[in-house]
Subunit: 424 residues, 2 copies
């Protein structure tokens, strides 16, 4: 039996995530907090059975909490803890649980020390110091409004948790919650992903049917721009980590069923892993982006410390910019801007200018305009130039502009990763 199990039932095993706020319900804000919390809860051994959004309305918040407590034992609310009149999550939770609200002087002092001075700041501090009776306070390490953890239900085995909505605060306070979830469930799930760059989702589903229709481990396909992911998930077997045997077995079976390579995280395709791998090798990178328009730069610079590796990234959207970088005008005229020759010239020119070990060149037609019979909209070329020459790949995505742009960045990272670490 697990640490958190009583009578065979793992504590906080089933979770609900409720995003609070008109801005989420009406689509002004995309609910990235909910996705983050879902992934983290799964890692901590709790499974989201329910995700929903409710507006800034005390009755709706209270009803959502009561409804969720009928189905799950951990209810996480995100948002609505701020200083404005439409921040109503505290009131909704108090109403759902039939409790009062008090002001905690220690919380007030904590917030006061961190709150920016300005008009209305005393009212703002007062509102954010309001705590539901009986709640454990989770002080906010990156902002002012604290989180609150309210135990409830028979033997206090259920919990309602309030987290602030700004994403960095949700993550900062959420980390305190996740520590408690790991303790409560006493277990961890392992989820591993394999990537396929050479088949469509239909084709991959055809080959993998025995795995996708099996019950153990949980398996699913997901299409991202430029890549299909196979996800396998099972409970961890040892505290030290490592793949559960069922996942390892299914992965080996998947590779035997599919006639093209599958790539796992041993290949440094994700931005942070790619930068780490290059840093460990003492290698640098420069990028010339046409069709991807800065997406690869944005992905790489999202990782702290990217400047150790990424010497320069230039978005050369126009022919003139490509020529300024060093692509010969005659080459552009002869082959057209979307061509193997120009992708290679971009990779080599930016590598030369920045004096790096690796150079990436990306060119294509994102649409809706552009393209011709030979190179229709959605076609892109990625080239990776390195000490031992340049490798280019042509791909096509029959999707919207942003999908083509993202697929091109994904393909470039994949190509550099397999250049560093070839498939056996």
């Amino acid at each position: 039996m697990h640490a958190g199990a009583v009578g065979g039932q793992v504590m906080w095993e089933r979770a609900a995530i409720i995003a609070v706020g008109d801005e989420v319900l009406t689509g002004e804000v995309v609910n990235t907090n909910g996705s983050w919390m879902a992934r983290e809860l799964i890692r901590a051994g709790s499974r989201p059975l329910l995700q929903q959004c409710v507006g800034d309305d005390v009755e709706a918040i209270a009803a959502a909490i009561r409804g969720a407590l009928e189905r799950v034992d951990l209810v996480v609310l995100i948002g609505g803890l701020g200083p404005t009149p439409d921040d109503l999550t505290r009131l909704g939770a108090a109403q759902a649980l039939g409790r009062g609200i008090h002001r905690d002087p220690a919380v007030t002092e904590y917030i006061r020390a961190r709150h920016r001075q300005g008009v209305g700041h005393e009212a703002s501090i007062a509102q954010q110091s309001e705590i539901v009776d009986g709640a454990e306070v989770l002080l906010n390490p990156v902002g002012t409004a604290p989180g609150q953890l309210i135990r409830t239900g028979p033997q206090e085995r259920q919990a309602v948790v309030l987290l602030p909505g700004p994403p960095s605060e949700c993550r900062g306070v959420g980390a305190l919650l996740l520590e408690r979830v790991r303790q409560a469930t006493g277990r961890q799930l392992v989820r591993a992903t394999w990537h396929c760059y050479d088949l469509t989702e239909s084709e991959l589903a055809h080959y993998l049917r025995p795995i996708l229709t099996g019950l153990h481990p949980r398996a699913g396909l997901y299409t991202r721009p430029g890549v299909i992911d196979l996800r396998l998930e099972a409970e961890a077997e040892a505290a030290g980590g490592g793949l559960p045997a069922a996942v390892a077995r299914a992965a080996a079976e998947a590779q035997a069923l599919v006639p093209v390579p599958l790539y796992d995280d041993a290949w440094p395709i994700a931005p942070d892993r790619l930068l780490d791998a290059l840093r460990r090798r003492g290698e640098t990178l420069a990028v010339a982006e046409s069709v991807s328009g800065g997406r690869l730069a944005a992905e790489l610079t999202a990782v702290p410390g990217a400047s150790d590796v990424l010497a320069e990234d230039v978005v050369v959207y126009t022919d003139a910019a490509k020529v300024r970088l060093g692509v010969p005008a005659e080459l552009l005229a002869e082959h057209g801007p979307v061509s193997q020759a120009v992708a290679e010239a971009l990779a080599e020119a930016v590598r030369r200018r920045a004096g790096t070990v690796w150079g990436i060149g990306i060119t294509g037609w994102a649409g809706p305009g552009g393209g011709d019979e030979r190179e229709p909209v959605g076609t892109y070329y990625c080239a990776v130039a390195g000490p031992d020459g340049v490798v280019t790949r042509r791909r096509r995505t029959r999707m919207a502009r942003e999908v083509v742009q993202q697929a091109a960045a994904e393909t470039a990272r994949f190509m550099l990763a397999t250049r560093i670490h070839p498939h056996p």
Copy 2:
């Protein structure tokens, strides 16, 4: 009475949006489809009262549909219409409504003509041709799986709608649904937004309390990186559009209450509007990004036709890259990379190299590393160089790395927009 109103009740006035898929429920995929659909439904006169995610499970899908039909009259399901065994939305809808499923030969032919050949393609086409009995088929203009609109309830005044999950297909088929929603509701809501770049959310909430606590029009504040938005919303008064009187009155009152300028969409701050404004003026732009790391490039190139205006964008993350662009090494040594002098030099150097009318330079400390006492983490400088000189602004955001990066890109767009179109 409105076109769509019967007995005082507007048809399809209340909506629910249900995202289907383990990948959404478990956070592998962020639910951008739901946000998009919510915004579009509001514009079409229908209000989302409920958003939720359910996993790939027939019972859960059916239960969510039945639950939603008790509260709203339009239920939009997104996802789970693909070709794999875990695409179960058709079955869930049939079960919830007590209907059968048939294969529509016309749909099969339509899909066959668009489906890529490959292993498993016949099974894939067959599954995607399955239609719930009595459904209106919404053929997919950008993919294969069609949407389905199933009228139900008393007098068939309710509807359950199935849309495909890939974002471009959701939008393509969703457009056919939204046309029918506009006809059904016979009305349109107008939502307008004002932006504040000079106050915190607490300060703005303090000044705007009379408007935020009033009942008409609906009003709300929302914090995005680098800017606070004031959103006002009311029903459109004329078919031609224009601001409803209540919104215009509240906006004027808001500007009178707040001691700093508020900016509406007359200022071309959003990427598409900024590019349009520059194009109309026949002006071009070059950008040198340090702290924002390609985010401004990615925002601008997300807009089709950006290459008319954006001559070049260079991500100069390292000192060496800044020097290659033309920032004097002595200037970097004397002032440090995060300084007004370097922001100005970046803007002027990239403008000179690309030969554009405008140049933008962005430098700062995104964190978690970097920064010092004078220029702590979160500090950034944006400079806009143009025919009449260079203007620089220093700002600071006490938030996470990605917030600082996005705030810097937002500030740069704002500064160029107000340079083109000054506040009175």
